[in-house]
């Protein structure tokens, strides 16, 4: 059944859209990830203009992060002060990112940049995850003890403007969370992702945050930053399609329930290995599109030079 999307100005099969929502929701429920890094490429693969895919992706992530954030908030897993600093950084980064996006669109390189960044980040994260989970699987076979991780005690402690974050039991330079927030903001605005896949490791390994507040605090940042990005894209590129958001959300809510149930039956390492393979698959597909000879050298889009 075709469904006309007023902002994308195209018709997509409604079952395909809801199915996409279910698939990404399923993965996010199963692995506890936001799923934006899968949603945006999948939308682009199904023919949605990249600008609409990115802006609508951001809008969708706001919605899908709310329920997670509420859960973590009830458990006391949100550091409001640190979250606030991450949000300020994210706001700066997303303004910069949205500006970059508009500029890249004007010079005709936005699709290239989206694909390149996806290939780099998905490839990097997917590769690391696969490596780590394979090692973990091997170790659990041999029955060895997992290695202990320690927060870094290096360069990050020589930075100025130190601030105390009681909830996270940290005394660190405010520049660190500001910078992390900003980088995530830039990526989120260009790629239509939440950025949890960058932020969570950065919070653990660079800031040295206790893991019980990491996910909740990052979700809080993601809600605010994706909301800002939705606003910026609404004003600058006018490519947020709320009808598409709602359709995807319907699928994602159902999919997340299914995924969460099934996710509990699998082991953590298996889950990560599986997610890594999916991430690498998307990365390969995007990379292939970059290097394979295009069907037609010429492409068109509305606008002026």
């Amino acid at each position: 059944m075709p469904f006309y999307l007023p902002i994308a100005e195209m018709s997509l099969n409604i079952f395909l859209v809801i199915g996409l929502g279910v698939a990404v929701g399923f993965l996010s429920g199963m692995f506890g990830v936001g799923g934006g890094f899968l949603m945006t490429p999948l939308l682009i693969f199904s023919g949605v203009p990249p600008a609409v895919a990115v802006a609508t992706g951001a809008n969708l992530i706001t919605a899908s992060s709310v329920s997670g954030a509420i859960t973590h908030w009830r458990r006391g897993g949100v550091d409001l002060k640190l979250g606030g600093v991450l949000i300020v950084g994210g706001a700066i980064g997303s303004v910069l990112g949205a500006w970059l996006f508009t500029w890249l669109e004007a010079i005709g390189q936005v699709e290239l940049m989206i694909s390149l960044l996806y290939v780099v980040f998905l490839g990097g994260i997917g590769g690391l995850m696969l490596w780590e989970s394979l090692f973990a699987l091997l170790r659990s076979r041999r029955g060895g003890a997992p290695r202990k991780r320690r927060a870094g005690r290096g360069w990050q402690h020589s930075l100025p403007f130190k601030m105390r974050f009681r909830k996270s039991r940290l005394y660190i330079s405010v520049l660190l969370p500001l910078g992390i927030g900003a980088i995530v903001g830039v990526l989120a605005a260009i790629l239509g992702v939440g950025g949890g896949f960058i932020m969570v490791p950065a919070m653990i390994y660079i800031l040295g945050m206790p893991t019980n507040v990491v996910v909740g605090t990052s979700l809080l940042q993601i809600i605010f930053v994706t909301a800002i990005i939705t606003l910026l894209h609404s004003v600058q590129t006018q490519t947020v399609d709320i009808i598409l958001t709602l359709l995807l959300l319907v699928g994602a809510v159902g999919g997340a329930q299914l995924g969460a149930t099934l996710g509990m039956k699998l082991k953590g390492e298996q889950l990560r290995a599986l997610l890594a393979l999916i991430v690498l698959g998307v990365c390969l597909r995007m990379g292939w599109d970059l290097v394979s000879v295009p069907d037609d050298l010429y492409s068109i889009m509305p606008g002026a030079l």
Binding site: F3, G108, V240, I243, T245, D296, I300, A304
Partner: protein, 252 residues
């Protein structure tokens, strides 16, 4: 008698002779719908353009119809990819300031069999005569950019050539289907029906079609374009509310 005077006399004579033989040709044309609404269930549509050739029709006289539909113009950018370090990158660019967003052409026979290139160009009929001016500051081959643009529009189903898709019954009644795809642009469309007699255009009629979003889709689109900040706030609130509703649902 001057040559000019002779020509006029000849014209009057033959005109009178023609009128005696057959009334000048006329066209009665209509279209199944002159308003096309883009609603949520819109997935493209077919318009039936039909009519009758009036005036006594001589079966021996070769009559042809050329029907074109032209959509609203918009500024477009055409880019050409080139390989840079193994990656395909948009390199040269050109803009087409007034590119028709839709063009369909159909006729009783292939255009080349109906009349000559000069007549077609005078009438502005056919893809080759579409007003596509290529503007660029790069060193480019404008004809290739034009061809690339037309190809891309054809691939999207927005430029359509369909020779001999006009059916003529009894030498007088005609009809054809005009396909508007799901990605059709909004705005005023003009359908043109040109009747050729022996390769000479004798009647030229225009019909208007309006394509636009209505109802909810229109409201959403207009809000997004005219009140973008308000639209953005609405999008965020909608996301927050539905995310919250989803978390209530999932806690059950």
């Amino acid at each position: 008698m001057s040559m000019r005077g002779f020509m006029i006399l000849l014209a009057v004579f033959f005109g009178a002779y023609d009128a005696a033989k057959a009334a000048p040709h006329g066209l009665v044309t209509d279209i199944s719908r002159d308003i096309v609404n883009l609603r949520y269930d819109f997935s493209g549509t077919d318009l039936l353009l039909f009519g009758a050739i009036s005036g006594a029709v001589d079966r021996e006289e070769p009559l042809d119809l050329v029907i074109s539909v032209l959509g609203p113009a918009k500024s477009m950018v055409v880019r050409r990819k080139a390989q840079v370090a193994g990656v395909w990158v948009n390199k040269q660019a050109a803009s087409i300031p007034e590119a028709p967003g839709y063009y369909a052409l159909t006729s009783t026979r292939p255009l080349a069999n109906i009349t000559d290139a000069k007549t077609l160009s005078d009438l502005g009929l056919g893809l080759a005569n579409l007003p596509l001016s290529i503007v660029s500051s790069d060193a480019i081959e404008p004809r290739e950019f034009r061809a690339g643009f037309v190809r891309a529009m054809e691939k999207r189903g927005l430029y359509r050539l369909d020779a001999d898709a006009v059916t003529v019954l009894e030498g007088a009644l005609f009809r054809t289907n005009i396909r508007l795809p799901a990605n059709v642009p909004e705005g005023p469309f003009e359908a043109r029906v040109v009747l050729f007699s022996n390769g000479v255009p004798v009647v030229d009629r225009a019909l208007h079609i309006e394509v636009g979003k209505i109802g909810f889709e229109r409201a959403v689109f207009q809000l997004a374009k005219q009140q973008p900040l308000l639209y953005g706030i609405a999008a965020v609130l909608l996301a927050l509310l539905s995310g919250w509703a989803a978390s209530l649902l999932s806690r059950r």
